[in-house]
Amino acid sequence: MNKLYIGIDIGSISTKGVVIDDDNNIIASKYLWTEGSPINATKKVIASLKETLDEKNIDKQIYGIGTTGSARNLIGSILNANIIKNEITAHAIGTLSVFPNVRTILEIGGQDSKLIILRNGVVIDYAMNTLCAAGTGAFLSSQAKRLGVEIEDLGKLAKLSKKPSKIAARCTVFAESDLVHKAQIGHTKEDLIAGICNSVVQNYLNNLAKGKRIEDTVVFQGGVSKNEGVVYAFEKALNKKVHVDQNSHLMGALGIAIISKNANKNGTRLDFDFNIQDVSFKTVGKECKGCSNNCEVVSIYKNDILIDKMGGRCDKGNYIKHIG
């Protein structure tokens, strides 16, 4: 009998789900847009995973559920996950299972970018973008929209460029005005797109990789790794082979699934119902009036029964009666 583990990575832009077996093989996976509703996205992901498992005629015995990504706490409590972990650890573990010799992980997601440095299979340093979302997927997708190009086609078009436009890398606002100027003086769409890809890479290297040693094996992942233009720009800037796994967008979910496997030391089967599509989840945000911090405490209801509260700075808000 096969034990299965679920990993869900709920990012700001996209939600990823995988089901793995004991040998970390991905048996089912789903990638879709979060569209500002992590709960609905998760429901869809779970439904799709179930469908795949049913098609393959696999017994759905779940022994671990893990959540990661920016909505990890919310979804973790909805799915009753046995582990909730940050995305940096999840990404490192996921990537190590595919590339055991990885020493550098470049990760660009929808709203954040990370650089993870590993030696001998252990994370020894990492950096994460801090103040703004410049040079991330959000920037790419807004610029694609401005140029009237589907985001999926960006990579292909960038590769056609012979002479990429120079686009400022530091700040999205500057980059955007550069882009408009260059477009108005007649640069081709391909050159502009290749320029944007270069600017994302420059931004990444100047902000995150500052002073860090990027050594082989370099793995690039996250949603933006699907953009060949950015991959190419990275290879050129680093002068190194940049590996992109076919599941590079799923690494966080894979990692958290593996972590959930390791966390379930007793090997007890979890009581998990795949039919959460029919369950109604409701979140109610209320300001706690316990002190003048006015924390926004979110209460989560499953079929109108309160299952969790979160968001308070102290325990007061998380248990306080008057926020129902």
Binding site: T89, R119, N120, R213, N294
Partner: protein, 394 residues
């Protein structure tokens, strides 16, 4: 109740309000003056402060402004500021002007001079508050405050070092609060020493569970306000303590006022490999203390600063170099007036996981045997030659 003529208030930083309250309580003339404590810092404080401050000024300015506005709203009319070090030293005048432009009326004095603490000048300024203030009384109150700040710092340093190992967290928190209350109402040095003896005895009698597994030791270096005011870093130290981390921090008021001046030469010497000149404000300390923490075998360093803090920005590339050469993780955190702690929680959790995994791996290979100080120094120089991964060598 009739309002007194002078209603004195001052901005908060950490728990220093207790000794400062006590100091003012000794100095003012109770007939004509009273102390109005600024309300505890909350999100409201920083909202008010940020609204009244230039956008690009660093965040301590904004917190101070919030404190002042809340105090003025509560009826204060005599504000005291203590600035110094970096551009913080010029904040007083700007804050005074902004508050006057906002229509508040008050008297304003600064405790510190640009060159540091000058008791005789300070005495003159405090005369504004109490005409009959005797120099002897001032000196005594001043000494009492210095001593109580020192003892407060000792107490909290012990807490930071050992909080993770104490199983009865509630007791230590209770003890801490009681101790602080005492500092607020001291009449003389004897009483202070009595309280010191009593509370240190109680504190040290709490059993330390030193065998606790998974404890990580982290040092905090960086700018002074974010180091000492927990609200400004979303209670970073408390978060760490709850995550099984023992925290070391050098920056305290005692250090800044009384040790920093003498320490500078020594610090420059101990970090001469990386810096020749002082970096300004606490930048030199950030570098030198990082090296010291590495020597002491700490697992990781967290460097904190407000957004736009120039001295600490100066220190960062050097810290980066140290991080590479000693193979020690340093996390850089920047704080501004934002009030969501989600991002910080993610980074802290990841930092903890990383240090833990690293430590486990190190233990699996071979622990670094360190016998005495000289040997540590030697290791450091060996390390200078073959740079990296010395801790992983067999």
């Amino acid at each position: 109740m009739e309002n007194k003529k002078y209603r004195v208030s001052f901005p908060h930083i950490g728990n220093y309000m207790y000794p400062i309250y006590n100091l003012l309580d000794k100095l003012i003339d109770k007939e004509t003056a009273e102390i109005i404590l600024a309300p505890k810092i909350t999100t409201n404080t920083i909202d008010l402060g940020a609204k009244a401050s230039p956008d690009f000024v660093c965040v301590p300015f904004k917190y101070n402004m919030g404190n002042f506005i809340e105090a003025l709203e509560n009826g204060a009319n005599f504000l005291i500021q203590a600035g110094g070090g970096c551009r913080y030293g010029y904040y007083g005048e700007v804050q005074e002007q902004i508050l006057r432009d906002m229509g508040y009326e008050f008297t304003y004095i600064n405790l510190l001079d640009p060159e540091g603490l000058k008791p005789e000048k300070l005495f003159k300024r405090l005369k504004k508050l109490n005409k009959n203030l005797k120099f002897s009384r001032f000196v005594y109150a001043f000494l009492l405050t210095i001593k109580s700040i020192e003892i407060l710092d000792d107490f909290e340093t012990y807490m930071r070092d050992n909080y993770v190992y104490i199983d009865k967290k509630e007791e230590v928190n209770k003890l801490h609060l009681e101790f602080l209350e005492h500092l607020k109402n001291l009449s003389n040095l004897n009483e202070l020493y009595k309280i010191k003896r009593e509370y240190f005895k109680k504190l040290k009698s709490l059993k330390l569970n030193k065998n606790k597994p998974d404890v990580i030791r982290v040092g905090i270096v960086g700018e002074l306000y974010t180091s000492m005011e927990p609200f400004s870093t979303f209670f970073l130290e408390k978060e760490l303590a709850n995550m099984n981390v023992a925290v070391k921090r050098y920056t305290t008021v005692t250090y800044l006022l009384f040790k920093k001046g003498k320490a500078l030469k020594k610090l420059l010497k101990s970090s001469s490999k990386y810096i020749t000149y002082a970096l300004g404000a606490d930048g030199t300390e950030s570098v030198a203390h990082t090296l010291e923490l590495i020597d002491k075998g700490y697992d990781g360093i967290i460097h904190i600063k407000p957004f736009g803090c120039t001295p600490e920005v100066n220190a960062m590339p050097i810290l980066q170099k140290i991080s590479n050469e000693y193979n020690i993780p340093i996390m850089y955190l920047t704080f501004d007036a934002q009030t969501s702690r989600t991002g910080l929680a993610t980074r802290l959790e990841a930092f903890y996981d990383m240090l833990k995994m690293k430590k486990e791996q190190k233990e699996n290979i071979k622990p670094l045997e360190v016998k005495n100080e000289t040997e540590i120094k030697e290791k450091r120089y060996i390390n200078d030659n073959n740079k990296k991964e010395y801790r992983l060598q067999n």
